[in-house]
C-alpha cells in the first residue's frame, strides 16, 4: 500500500432503507494523516456514512475503499485497519475500565503481557488510571467517551471513525476530546469525524464536507467554505427604540431585532466601509450603545448552503 493512496475513498455511495433514501450518491476522498469532517444536521446521513465505511452495513450502490481495501469485498481487512467510536457508548458497563481495555487487547490477540501493557498505557494517556479499577457504569459522560476512544485505540488503527464524539459532553470534556484528536493526527492516523457542531469542524478538520439530505452540498477547507459567503456583518446595539428606528431609516438595508434593540448591517470587513457606516450614523445623529464587527463563521456558511432555518436541529455552540 503506497502512502499516496488516500485513506478513504467513496464513489457514488448510496443507501436506502426501503423507499427512504438516506444517502443519495456521495463522493469522498480523505488523504492519509488528515482529519476529515462530515458536517450535517441530525438525519442528514452522517451516521449511515460511518456505518457503511466501517463495514457495519452494506451500501445500496457505489463503492468505498478504506485503508486500501474494498468495504464490500474484504470487510475483515478493513476491520483490521480501522477503529470506530460510535455515537452511542460502546463500553461494557459491567466491566472496569481496565477490563474493557484488556478485553479489546485480547480480541486483537496482543498476548497477555503486551495487552496489559497497552491497557496501562492507554489508562495513563486518557487520564483514567484511578477510574480504571471501577466499573464503567460509574463513569461520567466525559470519562465514558475517553474510555470508549481508548478502547478504539487498543489495536493501533490507521483510520479512526468518530461519530459525533463530543455530543452531550460539557465544554471542558469537549476541549479535552479535541486535544486527543489533535494528538492522534500528529501521530499519523487518519480521522473521519462527523459532527453537528460547526465550531468543532472548524477547530479540527483539514477538510469539511457539508451533508444535507444525503448529498454533499459543499466541500473544502474551513476557509474555502467561509469565502463562499461574501461578507460578515456589523452588529449595532441601541439603548432606545427611538435610536434604533432612526438608525434603520438612515442605513436602509438592514435586518432588525426590535426586542433586543439591535441591527445587523451587511459588511465586507473593510475599514473604509466601516468608516462610511459610522459617518452615516453620525450624520443622522443616532446614539449607538455598542458596535461589533462579525466576520463570517461556518454558521453563516452552513445556513447559506443548506438554507436551513435555525429552528431545525442544527446546533452551533
Amino acid at each position: 500500500m503506497t502512502t499516496s493512496q488516500p485513506a478513504i475513498t467513496a464513489t457514488g455511495l448510496r443507501k436506502s432503507f426501503g423507499e427512504h433514501v438516506v444517502l443519495d450518491g456521495i463522493d469522498l476522498r480523505v488523504p492519509r494523516g488528515t482529519v476529515f469532517s462530515l458536517l450535517g444536521a441530525n438525519g442528514a446521513g452522517k451516521t449511515t456514512t460511518v456505518k457503511i465505511l466501517s463495514t457495519l452495513i452494506g451500501a445500496t450502490g457505489g463503492a468505498a475503499v478504506v485503508a486500501g481495501h474494498d468495504v464490500a469485498a474484504d470487510p475483515d481487512a478493513v476491520r483490521a485497519a480501522i477503529g470506530v467510536t460510535g455515537q452511542f457508548s460502546a463500553v461494557d458497563n459491567l466491566l472496569t475500565g481496565q477490563e474493557n481495555l484488556i478485553l479489546m487487547a485480547d480480541l486483537h490477540h496482543l498476548g497477555r503481557a503486551a495487552g496489559r501493557r497497552r491497557a496501562a498505557e492507554l489508562l495513563e494517556q486518557f487520564d483514567l488510571v484511578e477510574a480504571g479499577k471501577k466499573t464503567a457504569s460509574t463513569y461520567s459522560g466525559g470519562m465514558r467517551r475517553r474510555l470508549d476512544l481508548a478502547m478504539t485505540l487498543v489495536g493501533s488503527p490507521q483510520v479512526i471513525f468518530l461519530d459525533e464524539p463530543t455530543t452531550g459532553l460539557d465544554p471542558r470534556s469537549r476541549r479535552g476530546m479535541w486535544q486527543i484528536v489533535r494528538d492522534l493526527v500528529a501521530g499519523g492516523v487518519t480521522i473521519f469525524l462527523t459532527t453537528q457542531y460547526l465550531e468543532e469542524a472548524d477547530e479540527l478538520a483539514d477538510r469539511i464536507a457539508v451533508l444535507e439530505h444525503g448529498r454533499i452540498v459543499a466541500e473544502g477547507t474551513a476557509d474555502e467554505l467561509k469565502r463562499r459567503i461574501p461578507g460578515g456583518h456589523v452588529l449595532l446595539r441601541f439603548a432606545e427604540v427611538r435610536d434604533l428606528e432612526s438608525a434603520a431609516r438612515a442605513l436602509g438595508q438592514v435586518s432588525r431585532d426590535s426586542e433586543a434593540l439591535d441591527l445587523r448591517v451587511p459588511h465586507d470587513g473593510s475599514l473604509r466601509s466601516l468608516k462610511a457606516l459610522l459617518d452615516r450614523l453620525d450624520g443622522a445623529s443616532v446614539e449607538v450603545d455598542s458596535l461589533s464587527v462579525h466576520t463570517p463563521d461556518l454558521d453563516d456558511v452552513f445556513l447559506a448552503l443548506t438554507g436551513n432555518p435555525k429552528n431545525e436541529k442544527v446546533t452551533s455552540r
Binding site: F17, K51, S54, T55, L56, I57, G58, D76, A77, R79, A80, I82, V84, G86, F88, S89, A90, V91, D92, N93, L94, L95, E99, L103, D106, L107, H108, H109, T135, M151, T152, G155
Partner: protein, 271 residues
C-alpha cells in the same frame, strides 16, 4: 493448498480464542450482576418447595395410590423441577443477549476483525456453566429435603450428559429469542412458555390423568420425553424410546436455535 489449510487453521484458532475471551467477559458480567443468577436459581427452588410441601401430600396420594405420599411425590417431581431449572436459567440467556444488543458494544465487536460467532458462543458457554451451577443448587436442595434417586454411577454420568445436551439446545434457542427481541423487557417475557411447558407434560402429574386434548399435546411436546428420560435415569422408571426422541428434539432445537441465531446476528444492524 497448504496456505489455505493454514488460513483455515488460523481462523479456527481465532474462533476458539475469541470465544474464550467472550466467555471470560460473560462470566465476569454474571459475577457483577448476581441478582439475575439468584433469581433464576430461586424460582425452581420455590416451585420445588411449593409442589412438595403444599401440593405434595395430595398429589403423592394420587400417584402412588394408598402407599403414596409427600416423599413419593418429591421423587416424582424432582426431574421436572430440574428441567424447569434449565428453562428458567436460559431466560437469563435471552435477557443478557438482548442487553448486549441494546448496548453499543456489540456494534464495536462487529467493526473488529474477530470471529463473529464468538460473541454468541461466549454467551452459550457462559450460560451453560450458569445453568449447570443452577441445577447443582436445585439438586442440592432436593437431596436435602429427602430426594432419594436410585441412579448408579453410570446413570449419573448419563444424567449429566443429558442435562448438558438439553441445556445446550435450549440455550441456543434462547440466544435466538434474545436476538429476536426488540428490547430487554420483551426478552424477559419471551422465554415464559418454556417455563410453563413442563406443567403441560408428564412433569408434575402423569399425562393419563389429563383430559383428551391436553393429554395428546402433553405426550407429543418435547418436554415429556426429556422428563421421562431424566426420570428413568434418576429413578429407574422405564425409558423406552423416550431417550431417542429426547436426543432428536435436542438436536432439532439446538440446530434450529443456532441457525436462527447466526442469521439474526449477521443481519444488518438497524437499531
Amino acid at each position: 493448498m497448504s496456505t489455505m489449510t493454514s488460513t483455515v487453521d488460523k481462523s479456527m484458532m481465532y474462533a476458539l480464542t475469541d470465544s474464550a475471551t467472550m466467555l471470560r467477559r460473560n462470566l465476569k458480567r454474571m459475577l457483577r450482576y448476581p441478582s439475575m443468577t439468584v433469581l433464576l436459581i430461586g424460582m425452581p427452588i420455590v416451585f420445588l418447595l411449593l409442589f412438595v410441601y403444599v401440593f405434595g401430600g395430595a398429589l403423592g396420594a394420587g400417584i402412588g395410590g394408598a402407599a403414596g405420599g409427600r416423599a413419593e411425590y418429591l421423587d416424582y417431581v424432582t426431574p421436572a423441577i430440574i428441567l424447569m431449572t434449565i428453562s428458567s436459567a436460559v431466560q437469563g440467556t435471552s435477557i443478557s443477549v438482548a442487553m448486549d444488543m441494546t448496548e453499543g458494544i456489540v456494534d464495536r465487536f462487529r467493526t473488529m476483525a474477530i470471529a463473529r460467532v464468538s460473541v454468541l458462543t461466549g454467551h452459550v458457554v457462559g450460560s451453560l456453566i450458569q445453568t449447570m451451577l443452577a441445577i447443582t443448587a436445585v439438586l442440592g436442595v432436593a437431596l436435602a429435603i429427602g430426594f432419594r434417586p436410585s441412579a448408579g454411577v453410570g446413570d449419573w454420568l448419563a444424567v449429566v450428559g443429558v442435562l448438558v445436551m438439553m441445556a445446550f439446545a435450549f440455550i441456543w434457542l434462547s440466544v435466538a429469542l434474545g436476538l429476536a427481541s426488540k428490547s430487554v423487557e420483551a426478552a424477559s417475557n419471551v422465554g415464559m412458555p418454556l417455563v410453563l411447558l413442563p406443567f403441560l407434560g408428564s412433569g408434575f402429574v402423569p399425562t393419563d390423568s389429563m383430559p383428551m386434548v391436553l393429554r395428546w399435546f402433553a405426550e407429543y411436546q418435547p418436554f415429556t420425553p426429556l422428563i421421562e428420560t431424566l426420570r428413568g435415569l434418576l429413578m429407574g422408571t422405564p425409558i423406552g424410546n423416550n431417550a431417542a426422541i429426547a436426543v432428536g428434539w435436542c438436536v432439532v432445537i439446538a440446530l434450529g436455535g443456532y441457525l436462527w441465531s447466526t442469521k439474526l446476528f449477521n443481519r444488518e444492524s438497524s437499531r
